[in-house]
Amino acid sequence: MRERKAFRWHIPIFLAPAVIVYTAIMIVPLFATLELALWRVVDGATEFVGFDNFRILFTDPRWSESFWNALGNNAWFFLVHMVVQNPIGVALAALLSSPKLRGAAFYRTAIFIPTILSFVIVGFVWKLILSPIWGIAPSMLDAVGLKALFGPWLGKEETALTTIALVSVWQFVGIPMMLIYAALLTIPEEVLEAAEIDGITGWSQFWKIKLPLILPSIGIISILTFVGNFNAFDLIYVTQGALAGPNFATDILGTFLYRTFFGFQLQLGDPHMGATIATAMFGIILAGVCLYLFGIQTRLRRYQF
């Protein structure tokens, strides 16, 4: 007769601390937020309204205009990062991994430093640099005779969001650079040597050999950028304030959520609509991540050496 295996107590015991902490500070608040979105204060009493808050958010012009504006701005914010930050990150990593480059460690550190700075510092420093009154940007452009190109970029509706997105790119370009750099270092010498024997060198080696091997890392970076951008808030709050001026041109979902949830100036906070926006953001990010996981990542080819 076979003896029944004793219950392996060490498994739940080892899992417990993480599960308990994660549940208490992540899962419970997440569902509490989702639940908060289903209620509304009517004449001083909290009432269950189901998904009516979402109907208001998406269809009532008072809310939906701000929401779609914020979503559109957010999409543009993400696009700028994808088009500018990640290619530059990859290019920098490719340059850094070149054995001929001297002082690679210095460049690596210098480019990564902005990433560890606080948003508040980055926001204020760039606001000062770009200030039409005290900033060094106008005088620097003046020195090379291009003063005419300067404008109060942070104060104009057409340029404000792109300017802030580029500041954010400046701050975070170190992250894709480091991840890609690490991925490039893991490519075995043998593969590259084999390529050289076959006559593939220089740029064609990068396009044909290295890039396919780092594609999974680029995928991860894209998804990190996506999640980070759709949760962004701090840089815009620091440079443009909670009203995300000029004329809401820099309003993204994070600032819209902040104004709604906590209130602003005379506007009293509305936790229920705020939770509704938070839930919508959660949905958008979830959808994006799922799309990536099931649509792209499963199709990426992996190579084992």
Binding site: K127, S131, G155, L243, G245, L266, Q267
Partner: protein
């Protein structure tokens, strides 16, 4: 560690002091967000009160401005709040009164010293009950660089035409930026722009109350005209004013690079220490010579009684004193730019503050049009006004379109504006 040690030591001494001072002495705790005022309370106000009212001790315990509302609400809910509560104007305090946490002070003797406008920030919507004793207000106007005006041979303008003539001359001369204001922070455009010059057009209280009653609309000429004025300001502001922030504007003026600063009187003490030149002030220009003038004399701070206070009698004695001319003169001179709201005449020492407060004699006072009742719904009229004023100055929205949008937003939730 040292902090808690210190607190314990302090607690110990207060306990000892309370024990030795017998049971007669009553200590009143004052909740406030004005932690900047701590020295003024401790060195001036509290000694003056305690000297005239033996048996009552005061303890001023401010918290950080940004946290005040939250801290106060939780203290009130827990029953640990002080006896006296410094009141924010309008809805924040009204809510506390409706919850029964602030006592009704309508019958307090000192209330006779205050006008209805002064009490509006802390009265029920119909004005029948008042729950805080008004302490101070801030007045809007324009501060100018006297030396620059003398240099260019300019006189402070009284009418709108003179105002623009002055701006034109400063611009022509080119030494100074005519006016220091930016639209980056938005609130300057609304508060120091629209709410500053507006009362002259909508006739102060008359227009403000008509808007609340629903008999006037934001699209009426008296409400659109201030926007039409703002639309002309853009060319007189500094280069790149679109990205200019509030501190930028303050610095431009105090460094002597701009000649005129659309101001609130709270700037006075800061400007006195920063600026090296003589400053003067002129009130918002009237549309035509001889028009009645109106100023924004916005109620800002008041003191109320915690309904759960065990020392209500003593606290009322203190509140009566807060409503007296003696307190008004102490407070106003300690904080130039924060003006007493009582009807009693007060001698101010600061010349700039004197200039501001003198307008009360010649002009009618009102408060900011968006603060009472009208900013309770979504969209929030105050925030929308910030946005609209900034847009109009930048020239990206016409005055008419901005007014149209504000009216539509207000009418979407405010019933009296929905008739007809």
């Amino acid at each position: 560690m040292t902090q808690t040690g210190l607190k314990l030591a302090l607690l110990g001494t207060t306990l000892l002091a309370a024990a030795t001072a017998q049971a007669e002495d009553v200590t009143l705790n004052i909740e406030s967000w004005r932690n900047d005022d701590l020295p003024i309370w401790q060195e001036t106000i509290i000694p003056a009160f305690e000297a005239s009212h033996p048996g009552i001790k005061l303890n001023f315990t401010p918290s950080a401005p940004a946290e005040y509302n939250a801290v106060l609400n939780s203290k009130l809910d827990a029953g640990s709040a002080g006896d006296l509560i410094t009141c924010r104007p309008f809805d924040a305090s009204l809510q506390l009164f409706q919850k029964g946490q602030l006592a009704d002070l309508t019958d307090l003797d000192a209330m006779a010293n205050f006008s209805d406008v002064a009490k509006s920030g802390w009265s029920t919507d119909d004005g029948s009950q008042t729950f805080c004793v008004p302490m101070a207000s801030v007045i809007h106007g324009f501060i100018y660089n006297k030396e620059a005006f003398a240099e260019l041979g300019l006189e402070p303008p009284a009418t709108v035409d003179e105002f623009f003539a002055v701006l034109d001359k400063i611009k022509e001369d080119g030494t100074y930026i005519p006016m220091a204001m930016g639209t980056n922070d938005q609130w300057e455009a609304a508060t120091m722009g629209y709410q500053n010059i507006g009362p002259n057009y909508w006739k102060g209280e008359e227009g403000r109350l008509a808007l609340i009653a629903g008999t006037e609309k934001l699209t009426d000429p008296e409400w659109v005209d201030p926007f039409r004025q703002l639309a002309k300001w853009g060319p007189y502001l500094g280069d790149g004013f679109e990205a200019q922030t509030y501190p930028d504007s303050q610095n431009l003026f105090t460094l002597g690079r701009a000649a005129i600063y659309p101001a609130g009187s709270w700037e006075i003490s800061g400007f006195n220490t920063q600026a090296v030149f003589d400053m003067g002030a002129f009130k918002p220009p009237v549309p035509a010579e001889g028009d009645d003038c109106y100023i924004s004399d916005h109620v800002d701070i008041a003191l109320g009684l915690n309904a759960a206070s065990p020392h209500a009698e003593e606290a009322k004695a203190f509140l009566d004193w807060v409503g007296s001319p003696e307190f008004a003169s102490l407070y106003a001179n300690a904080l130039p730019g924060f003006f007493p709201l009582s009807d009693a005449a007060v001698e101010l020492e600061d010349p700039l503050a004197q200039e501001f407060i003198s307008w009360r004699q010649s002009c009618a006072s009102t408060i900011r049009s968006t603060y009472q009742i009208l900013s309770r719904g979504t969209p929030n009229l105050e925030n929308e006004t910030w946005n609209a004023s900034a847009n109009v100055i930048r020239g990206t929205e016409t005055p008419e379109a901005a007014a149209e949008r504000l009216q539509e937003g207000l009418a979407s939730w405010y019933a009296p504006q929905q008739q007809n």
